[in-house]
Amino acid sequence: MAVSFTVNGQARVVDLPPEMPLLWVLREGLDLTGTKFGCGIASCGACTVHLDGAAVRSCQVTLAEVAGASVVTVEGLGQGALHAVQEAWIAAQVAQCGYCQSGQIMQAAALLAENPAPTGDEIDAAMEGNLCRCGTYPRIRAAVQDAAKRLSEV
């Protein structure tokens, strides 16, 4: 069954099983590999994307459920340029292995879209579902705060 939805601003039609998780549709149907598989059960956050503006775990959303919706992945976050969150990530040199960072960045961007000036505790709470095994949490915290500042200065 072909399903139509928007990915990173482009209309896409995908003919894959409707129950296939969005994660795998993005990665193997559309070759958008920036969204990562970490656990498949929403415990790590590596697969976080924006679905109609909200951060979701793409391993828990089926293709059928995104029909007509707008999906943004890390590849489309900055719309051809670097998003302020990505600029802050690069400035803070957050990434080590980097595998979780797409999900971290998408989660942080969703937080800042909703709450432009989060407190430290609000950042911690919003980012709690995103694991990092390299232990980059302190730099993530600093980068989210820096991104908030960058966004407020635009």
């Binding site: 994660l23 990665r27 590999t33 920036g34 990562k36 415990s43 890390v74 390299c134």
Partner: protein, 737 residues
Amino acid sequence: MGTVMKIARRGFLFGSVAILGGVAFGWWKFATPYGNPVAGGLNPYVMIDGTGVTIIAPRAEMGQGVHTTLAALVAEEMDLTLEQVRVIHGPASAAYYNSAVLGEGVPFAPTDTGWLAEAVRGAMEVPAKFLGLQITGGSSSVPDAFDKMRLAGAAARSALVQAAAGRLGVPVGELRTEGGFVIAPDGTRLGYVDLAEAAAGVTLESEPVLKDRAEWTLLGKSQPRVDAVAKSTGAAVYTADLRLPGMLYATVRTNPRLGGAVKGYDASVAEGMAGVVKVVPVDGGAAVIARTTWQAMQAAGAIAFDWGDAPYPATSAELGAVLAASFTEERRDSVNRDDGDVDRALVGDVFEVAYSVPYLAHATMEPMTAAALLKDGALTVWAGHQLPTQILVEGAALTGLPAEAVTVNTMLMGGGFGRRAEMDVIRQVIALAKAVEGQPVLLTWSREEDMTHDGYRPAALARVRAKLDGGKIAAFDFATCSSSVVESQAGRLGYSVPGPDGAIVQGAWEQPYRFAHHRVTGYRAPAMVPVGSWRSVGASQNAFFHESAVDELAHLAGVDPVAFRLGQIDHGPSRKVIEAVAEMSDWGTRRAGRAKGIAFCMSFGVPVAEVIEVEETAAGLRMTGAWAAADVGIALDPGNIEAQVSGAMVYGLSAAIRGEITFADGMAEQSTFWDFEPLRMPQCPPIAVRVLEGLERIRGIGEPGLPPAAPALANAIFALTGQRIRELPLGKAVGFA
């Protein structure tokens, strides 16, 4: 330059060679038993072609920043910036053997720089060379590369300058280099790209001269990582992201009783499922090859397996009982330290305690992944791997092809921590490539497969007996027991390693404490659950045992834990990291409702001291601060070192608080991040790191930040609550917020 002479005497000649479309610079090794990774016998670290300068950093990037630091070694000597170079891992080749990793296996403490210790370290380079091990591990990449890669860069620069001198008719001494150009006194600029071909024919007039440290512009300063942009935009390509024309996707299920047989399986349902191409037997189980990874995973769940029993005791209680029964004379593996007369000194009022730690999974963020293509008599493997040369060996053995027909592409790793030195996923993907010859296949493990099929950090026990005298430790008898990582891991590669396993006592025997009577004994438990190298290896458990005991003794003696340690350590750099962390953490000041704990460990030659502060809250204990000081000898990239120490602390604290793999019915009971849960952001304290440069030798930093984390936290909990926890994870005894 003493270094140049020392290395040159060992048989290195610098040179260059024309290769397809460009020129490679590096060094020649005469009498080398190895073929050449690129062309003409040259072992290259620099390649220049029409597109610019490429630096080969032959160590795998698993997050530790090694590509950036290794590239900076070459770029520094070539007067290039990191923005001007491309960095690649390069081919799997024995020519890129790692001499430093075996140098750390010698039975001399890293603080021992006497002639005998140095001579034996030097001799150990010989077997490393003949084994041809291209290893990323043991915090060895930087010590191994520090001279080699700077010399390669200096040699390339010399050849380019000499080529320019010939072209311009200007003496070499009057030319300088900057930003990829050789510049003449009259301002004429010749680009490296234009000079490369001529430089290929140059015979160096003299040995390349390394820059003095005062001349460094990249080294010693924090550099932007070469992978930072790609890893912030989704563009970085890990093995899982490889996409090739006609690619098939696969996953495996193997016996969760590790090493147990498969008595049979019924794949009839799986074979009929949408997208399934075929079900293929692999060692210990079966794989599903499908059109998508998700379909492969769905189908794998529909295979009914009849698993055989585990070849080891089936429960944690039974495994623990074997460990506890292994403190015997016949299981004694090493006594690397035996100062004074411990048995005579330990009489009367003796302190006696026991500690234990559980098995741990690596749990890299990217589950095990590998891709392979067998086509037209050639095998290509794509994997983020810590032992690429071993893949050449396995590839040839499993396909019957000559090793020259095997190519390994080393990819970025979504975390390594020692897990990606194993061959399980490599062997499986080669079996799959044989089953669908002509088509590329990408194998991805499920998280559950990954968590339940590891070479785990071994469970371990320690028994410590000690005696205080005059506020100091007069006698210290440290005995520890675990299965052997070296035996288990090398055994899986088909090697057997004679002699004691230094990893069993790593992080204990070589500590710079000076106790009058001091013995460290390692006991080797039988091989049971497969165990492997887990970030910082033996030091990960021994620092907890050792530094918990030292802390207990400090409190027993009524001496401040920082002063107690300083009173018994005379190694200068070790004292300095303890003093630094005490100052950073404002050790002497205690805030209401909070307390701090300290721990020290020298591992991989790097002294590290850490302090952790905890607070009692209504929801449980909360870490409110963490401080670390580490001495690496020469800090090539302070920002990256800070990131490594800080990250290693978080990895260690994750394990300390919640990390535990337990066994029931022969199977790991934890299978995903819900039940083997690392620290999450709200639990992570602010972390401050100070990098010192007091050691005589340069050291690597991927691992040494980890060992002191668990004991520093346990010691802080004691300082706050009076509760001494001698068993990890701490979360079994106390609640955390």
